[in-house]
Assembly symmetry: C2
Homo-oligomer: 236 residues x 2
Amino acid sequence: MSNILVVHAHPEPKSFCTALATAAVEEFEARGDTVVVSDLYAQKFNPVASSDDFRSRANPDYLVYSLEQRNAQEHTSLGGDIKTEVDRVLAADTIVFVFPMFWFSTPAILKGWIDRVFLSGTFYGGKRIYGRASMRGKKAVAAVTLGGREHMFGVDALHGELARGMMRHFFQGTLGYVGFDVIEPFFGYHVPYCSNDDRAGILENWRDHLRSLDRKPVMNMPDLSRFDDVFRPLEA
Amino acid sequence: MSNILVVHAHPEPKSFCTALATAAVEEFEARGDTVVVSDLYAQKFNPVASSDDFRSRANPDYLVYSLEQRNAQEHTSLGGDIKTEVDRVLAADTIVFVFPMFWFSTPAILKGWIDRVFLSGTFYGGKRIYGRASMRGKKAVAAVTLGGREHMFGVDALHGELARGMMRHFFQGTLGYVGFDVIEPFFGYHVPYCSNDDRAGILENWRDHLRSLDRKPVMNMPDLSRFDDVFRPLEA
């Protein structure tokens, strides 16, 4: 039995994307896991990182957000909505992200959840990144819906690669950076335009993806042993 | 004389990033251009795309955000804050983005400005993307501050490439996608940790960058003539 956090961010509660989030809850509960859902639109989550996030400040005159994140943890002065989400992440063995791709990235409400919740200090440090970061041992998996078709992505395709190209900032630069084992993501292509039968097929494939999560490949992240103590590449 | 829009997004009004935005305003005004500033934190810009963005709806029962964007333009039912920003972009010959890199991307407040302002229909259409999209003939340039060092970015470096790798979703997938000529971006590395002298040097380099904007290289975008009418690669 595991603790699962589903982070969901779609503005339409009846969306297909929401159905993917609901399916994830069902699949994990069916196998006896404990599931918590952060439904960012339903929670009206505030995505704007600002000085309001700290009840007291290390430097009240000049905001360096990441330094205030560190100070706030030492002095328990972090805003309540952030604390709730941080605790959910720390309690989870696996985080499931379900969202529509907006501009080859997350919707802003989810981007701001990352900006405010993935605290400097707790999640990563200057040299504690990738395989040395704090989310080591936890898994992250994502279901992403998009309008584009699968043939638009790949090394020689229109937009280039998706998970390792356009969305590298998320899978490597965010989830991998803080140490998660990043499971090969699930993409629901062409969702607004495909048939209901096609969507039913995507939903079933997503359930299969989740049922075989333990056997799914994990994305490669940079191997820190290839870099020196300030992350310059070592001589070959 | 040109019309310039500076889009700025930093939570600290006294930040070095804000100094870069101010320098941009000064440089363009000094050469006689008209400059408008969208200071997203000062405006308390709402970054959350939602049904509230439309005063009337094509489909009140089910939100497909991009379809409602199109409907709202036909029926002038777009929320006032969005309309203001859209008009600013349409009036500009050059847009200057100034922001700190958060998670190899923009801060959420700027991500949401893109989500809400880069309207389907007005900025791009299903097949009107990249060189066929509507911002053709306008320039986009960015100054991005970050904590990382320059040696951490590149083909064989720790994080891989920056503008074409980690931030490809922004430079290609957003600015290039809607048709801007995307000027090679300016990065201010290691900003929170470097000396005041170093920062003064970065500021001067940014002013030089802006003064020579017309001679700066433009980033390559996908060549649509290499793809068929559904964007499959043509045979070589």
